[in-house]
């Protein structure tokens, strides 16, 4: 029988939630690395027992943890992230040049085919890769070396590379997103990059249609259609049908198109999910109602999913890496909140129930479907 393993990163540790295919009874283990921020925990598609975790702390800096048994036991691996060459500068909040400084790993993306290869998206924005299961890290510096680098600037949360998407149909193609530089694509396995932000419109930068400077919050891709991308930008939900060469807005009837997460149904590539957040100044759901919105049309037409979710006095946020789906026949959808709840739906979003209610603020949610 299939099993589901939900990997949860929080402000004070990691948790592993497991259930059988019914997804109605959950075992909760953790906190792992209690007291540390776990920005991201993700398993290898090539070997589900191999799991990587980004553990960090304002006191002790960055650590990377690796598990070879599905998150039961862990061992620290390499934590040396050194930019390639002279790092140079990017823009600081006040527009002055600021040296590139490594702060933390926001996102870990294991290779689709090799459990020992894993990518790390870091703050200040750069992409690193390890090919020895996390022991050693090398920067793919063609990204930061893109000519626009000196113009990148941080969003309020820092200048983070938070999204890494590996194209299952083309091992040469990688997508990344950076707040607040935008989206980039490599067609040569990370050696060179180009911005893919045409069609984005951002009122908060001097040129709203600039090549870079957009605060992209998250991007999702369905493995069956790697040329189709969905994006939750700071404001606006966007769609690209040409691998990011151009984007069009699909916010449609959403109550607000600000938000962080976006994800796609495991078996219906036109069914997408977002969690609208009131605004960039008020990071909580509109009207105090926690609603997931689902579009079955690839955007523009959205329905509110509310069954089982709090519909009054709810003022949590759902952060950019805190939604995931499983691969079971009835697609499960999961998301975590800054209030410490992890909600699960075993019917593609029609109804929801909390797996846990009182974790530390949730930073990330990933799901492994195990057979």
């Amino acid at each position: 029988m299939s099993k589901v393993r939900v990997l949860v990163g929080t402000r004070k540790g990691a948790f592993v939630l497991t259930a059988d295919g019914k997804r109605d009874k959950w075992d909760v283990s953790g906190p792992h690395f209690a007291g540390f921020e776990l920005f991201h925990v993700k398993g290898s598609p090539a070997d589900p027992n191999r799991v990587y975790a980004s553990q960090c702390s304002g006191w002790f800096g960055q650590l990377i943890q690796r598990s070879n048994d599905g998150g039961k036991t862990w061992e620290p691996v390499g934590n040396k992230f050194v930019y390639d060459g002279v790092p140079g500068t990017h823009q600081w909040y006040d527009g002055t040049p600021h040296p590139w400084e490594f702060k933390r790993v926001w996102h870990l993306e294991p290779s689709l085919t090799d459990p020992d290869t894993v990518y790390a998206g870091v703050e200040d924005a750069a992409l690193f890769r390890s090919t020895d299961a996390g022991q050693n890290w090398q920067e793919l510096s063609g990204l930061r070396g893109h000519g626009s680098g000196p113009n990148w600037q941080p969003g309020a949360g820092g200048m983070c590379l938070h999204t890494i998407i590996l194209d299952p149909s083309d091992p040469q193609r990688i997508f990344v997103a950076i707040s607040a530089a935008g989206a980039f694509r490599s067609d040569d396995a990370g050696a060179t990059w180009r911005p893919i932000n045409r069609g984005l419109y951002s009122k908060y930068i001097p040129d709203p249609t600039a090549e870079v400077g957009h605060c992209v919050h998250h991007i999702a891709m369905h493995n069956s259609r790697p040329g189709v991308l969905f994006m939750q930008k700071h404001w606006d939900v966007m769609r690209s049908d040409n691998a990011g060469d151009s984007w069009q807005e699909v916010s449609g009837n959403l109550p607000t198109d600000f938000g962080f997460v976006i994800d796609i149904h495991a078996h219906e590539p036109e069914t997408i999910y977002v969690v609208p957040i009131k605004s960039d100044g008020e990071h909580f759901p509109p009207e105090g109602k926690l609603r997931v919105y689902r579009s079955r049309t690839g955007g523009n037409e959205w329905e509110a999913l509310t069954k089982g979710l709090p519909q009054e006095n709810c003022y949590v946020n759902v952060l950019r890496d805190a939604m995931a789906v499983d691969l079971l026949d009835k697609c499960g959808v999961y998301f975590g909140t800054t209030g410490g709840q992890v909600y699960a739906s075993s019917d593609a979003g029609d109804s929801w129930a909390p797996i846990v209610r009182d974790l530390p603020a949730v930073l990330s949610v990933e799901v492994q479907t195990l057979t």
């Binding site: 540390f36 006191w59 002790f60 800096g61 960055q62 650590l63 040396k80 050194v82």
Partner: protein, 98 residues
């Protein structure tokens, strides 16, 4: 033999209980003590000082014999009481709530 007191999270990370006892080759300085600590517990590399520059992480301090030696020269000899093991070298994390 010198003694080093680690913050609780670093004890967990290094899988040690209580004080760490270290043999330090040559002159016992802050730098040589940290070199010995990291050599014995490689997992601590990068958690106390930067991998490359060896700059102290900003939320950590080094105390010895009731003095803050964080801003002193790293190659200055540590106090005799630390060198003899009578007093420990403290690695202290900034206090914080939350």
């Amino acid at each position: 033999m010198i003694r080093v007191v680690l913050p609780p999270h670093l004890r967990t990370l290094a899988r040690v209980h209580g004080d760490v006892e270290l043999e330090v080759e040559g002159s016992v300085t802050l730098r040589s003590a940290l070199d010995a600590l990291e050599s014995r517990y490689p997992v601590l590399r990068g958690t106390i000082r930067d991998h490359v520059t060896h700059q102290r992480r900003p939320f950590l301090r080094f105390f010895a014999c009731e003095e803050d030696i964080s801003h002193g020269p790293p190659d200055a000899p540590l106090p005799d009481a630390v060198v003899s093991g009578a007093e420990p070298l403290f690695i202290i994390g900034a206090i914080a709530g939350g």
